[in-house]
């Protein structure tokens, strides 16, 4: 709609303080009504244009050339003097006319109680956990050994009128999630170590902008291309290095296909409870291993959080952003995030223990190595060694409270892991922060796709016990 098409087009009006004096309107006016200014505006410190509307034909070209929203504008009735309600005129400044949104709660829909267990691999169990948690939007980029999860989503989601997108990269993947999660929906991806490295910028943005999402990372051997064998090579990355800035996310470490389902479901609840991404951290073995998976008694139909940028009237005033230009503002923002991390640390520590009640030798392991460690505990018990397994289910926050209770009776701590000390470092850091006394820490470590086996764990313990 051209202003010249309007016979009643009004003359221009200018509030000088909002004019930056760029002169586009000077150039645009065919009647030379507008001149570059000469006087500095006392409010803006800039030199606004001057208007002499003697020859103005109200063509409107000047205000169509003005780049400022409150710069040159039609002098129509909106700006004419009229009596207005003082309450409205002097009331609080209004940022947006949009309403303030409220949370729409999720709904739990019961499932039949007599469902046969599924016999599926870990990645499938995780994908089905996501579906049961109400995730209908999947974004991902194929990478071994995580891809079967994505393939199942590609097969199943169309039948549920959901969305599967194979993104052009992991970088695009995490940004699709940023958009979809920012709209308030439950979204996820499957990836493996090098893919997670690529996503980290976006993960930092999600944390900074408080966008929930679930990232299932099936760890493989690194660094670099490494191999596709099972490993716990990204524990440091997900616990200490989720992109730039002051970042943390809850890290859930399943040990079998059942937990792949259960913890993926839990991950969605945690992601939305804290408005933060959640990492489900598996190893290549766990992704591939087929096992028995019982289904829960309900599925989730997600609601919509009040903060979502959903693209409707109710959520119009919302903003998803991680920018804070002012140093004090950004410090305050980081302190808020830190307070949130502290709440996670206080409330979300999870762990499992096996025969720890009287354990003098405490094995500590997560993911698939915890299965081997459990077998080792059984064999050690059979040989009269009072061994137990402490299994962190959250690697961050580290379940220090539960572990601390077991330490007084323990003579020995042995960390069993498929990395060169990444889990042990988390343990040592947690012990240091907690300031609790602890017994000597030994370890059984493998890397590169080799997993610790029960016999070598038993032998390592017996060696230490023999040296006592």
């Amino acid at each position: 709609m051209s202003p010249r098409a309007r016979p009643d087009a009004p003359h221009p009006h200018l509030t000088s303080a909002y004019c930056k004096g760029c002169g586009r309107c000077v150039d645009a006016c065919p009647k030379h009504c507008i001149e570059p200014g000469t006087a500095i505006d006392p409010l803006s410190g800039l030199v606004p244009v001057t208007l002499d509307l003697e020859a103005c034909t109200a063509c409107g070209l000047c205000y169509e050339a003005c780049p400022e929203p409150f710069g040159l504008h039609p002098d129509d009735e909106q700006h004419a003097w009229e009596l207005s309600d003082p309450k409205e005129h002097f009331g609080p400044r209004r940022e947006s006319s949009a309403p303030v949104a409220v949370d729409r709660p999720s709904r739990l829909i019961p499932l039949p109680s007599d469902l046969a267990p599924l016999i599926i691999k870990g990645t499938y169990a995780s994908a089905i956990g996501a579906l049961l948690a109400g995730c209908r939007h999947f974004f991902g980029y194929p990478i071994t050994p995580s891809t079967e999860g994505a393939e199942l989503m590609a097969k199943v989601l169309p039948g549920l009128e959901g969305v599967f997108v194979q993104a052009c990269s992991e970088v695009a993947t995490i940004n699709h999630m940023y958009g979809c999660g920012g709209a308030g929906l439950r979204t996820m991806t499957f990836t493996s170590s090098p893919g997670l490295s690529l996503m980290l910028e976006g993960v930092s943005y999600m944390i900074g902008a408080e966008v929930p999402g679930v990232i299932v990372n099936i760890m493989r051997g690194g660094p670099g291309l490494g191999n596709i064998g099972p490993a716990q090579s990204d524990i440091r990355l997900v616990c200490r290095g989720l992109g730039h800035g002051n970042t943390h996310a809850i890290v859930l470490a399943p040990a079998n296909p059942q937990e792949m389902l259960d913890l993926t479901m839990l991950a969605f609840d945690l992601a939305f409870a804290y408005r933060n991404p959640v990492v489900v951290l598996g190893d290549g073995y766990l992704g591939q291993v087929t096992g028995k998976v019982a289904l829960p008694d309900h599925l989730v139909e997600p609601g919509l959080p009040a903060w979502a940028v959903y693209g409707d009237r109710e959520h119009r005033r919302n903003l998803i952003s991680s920018i804070e230009l002012g140093e004090a503002d950004l410090e305050a923002r980081n302190l808020e995030l830190q307070a949130k991390y502290d709440r996670m640390t206080a409330n979300e520590q999870r762990s499992d223990s096996f025969r720890c009640e009287d354990a003098e030798v405490l094995l500590l392991a997560a993911n698939t190595p915890a299965r081997m460690a459990k077998a080792a505990v059984q064999r050690l018990r059979a040989q009269g060694v009072k061994a137990g397994l402490f299994r962190p289910v959250t690697l961050w926050p580290f379940p220090m409270d539960a572990l601390a209770a077991l330490l007084p009776q323990a003579r020995r701590l042995m960390v069993v892991e498929a990395s060169l000390g990444q889990l042990e470092d988390e343990l040592r850091l947690a012990l240091s922060h907690a300031g609790v006394a602890h017994p000597p820490i030994e370890h059984v470590q493998h890397t590169g796709g080799v997993l610790p086996q029960p016999d070598e764990i038993v032998q390592a313990v017996l060696r230490q016990e023999g040296a006592r």
Binding site: S2, K20, G21, C22, G23, R24, D27, S44, L46, L61, E64, A65, C66, P67, E68, P69, R93, R94, E95, L111, L115, L118, I119, L131, L132, H137, V156, E161, V171, A172, N175, H176, M177, Y178, G179, C180, G181, A183, L185, T187, Y285, Q288, V289, T290, G291, K292, E301, V309, G311, D312, H315, R316, L319, I320, S321, I323, T368, M372, Q453, P454
Partner: protein, 475 residues
Amino acid sequence: MTVFYENFERHAHGEGLKAHSTHYCPGCGHGLAHRYLGEAIEALGIQDRTVAISPVGCAVFMYYYFDVGNSQAAHGRAPAVALGHKLANPESIVISYQGDGDLASIGLAEIMHAAQMGLPLSVIFINNATYAMTGGQMAPTTLIGQKTATTPEGRTTFAGQPLKVAELMAQLDGPIYVERVALYDNKQRVKARKAIEKALRLQVEHKGFSFVEVLSECPVQLKLDPVEAQAWVKANMAPVFTLGVKKDTSADATPREWHRPSFDPELLMGQIGASPDHPERHAAGFPVHLDADDVSLKLAGAGGDGAQTVAALLTEAGIREGFDATHIPSYGPESRGGTSYADVHIAREEVLSPASPDPHVLLAFNALSLRKFGPSVRPGGVILYDSTVAEAPPAVAEGVRVLGVPFARLAHDLGAAVVKNVVALGALQAATGLFPPATLRTALARHLAKKPELLPLNEQAFAAGVEAVARLMAR
């Protein structure tokens, strides 16, 4: 204008003049593009359902101004974020707004793939031939000869040539509307306003992907006054980045239909294969003659031998019989024809380590697998191998029973080489008594539920394996 906030509270907390002034420098083209966007949003009546994606670059603070849903994206990723929003709510009108460094350099992959998906999105691309926010460095659209902070002697072809993005977009199948416009005079501004409105209208009509490239002035980095900058764009940019419609197939575009995601439990159960039926059990108890608590098996061959299928059937059988079971595959790097090994455990209570480094039972489909794993079978265990292709293993542990069964030949005799793994399954059942035959037949029938016509052949293959072992044992 109501599409802009009454007060820019997000701009330095809306203090002083900042409540009503943009952060843009005098004469910057962004303000005009914002203005035309605002007019289009108002004209189309879509303010409530608009989501604007702010990029990285000078327009990073676009969300200061538009009273719409706002999302701020990482550098180059606005189209990816926009897609996330659009797919979350197809009724929303999503605007991805980017500058030249953001879209044409670091974000080239995202814009190309978003364009090719062709979903209804409106992309506004501001091309001012420079990285303005970071201080006037070379952009992918900087002209040859143009001096910037990183091309102090002027851009040469060594730094690459100016990327003509509108033409690039027009070559793609995805977009339905691509136009390049400018802001340097009244005529171009009218066209720019119309193009931006059209890009939004096509999305309102659910038609497809629209792309508007706007040649824009950055007087500060050009070191020109704003009116001179207009003349510079006209004289220098417009000849290289020619104006006009580059592609418009919007008249032929049919509106896209969208569906709401389903949370119907019946539908989900069907999709994931969950059912309430519990198949009947056939085993009297755990196969304690093999191990008191945990039987481990290794199935080894080449890709295509069917080791993984046998493993899956055994795992399923174990779980249906009420035990715990696991199956872990391991493949060579080749997708077919390489090694294909499977470790299976059947445990009375819980499988601990799912690996089978010293299995009770080895099923070997070739000589290599037999040699590799034969010696690892634990004392008293069982080795079954395909005697069509392999000789007996050199040395095995004490008390290991070694049975050569011609899986491949028996399958060949049945007229279907592919069922050699089912022959092997039958042989394994007969040789180990791991489960009653009915257990494995049930698993086989479930496995072939969608191809029932293949069941008789598979039943024959299973029986052939059972009989072959019976003959060996009778000797």
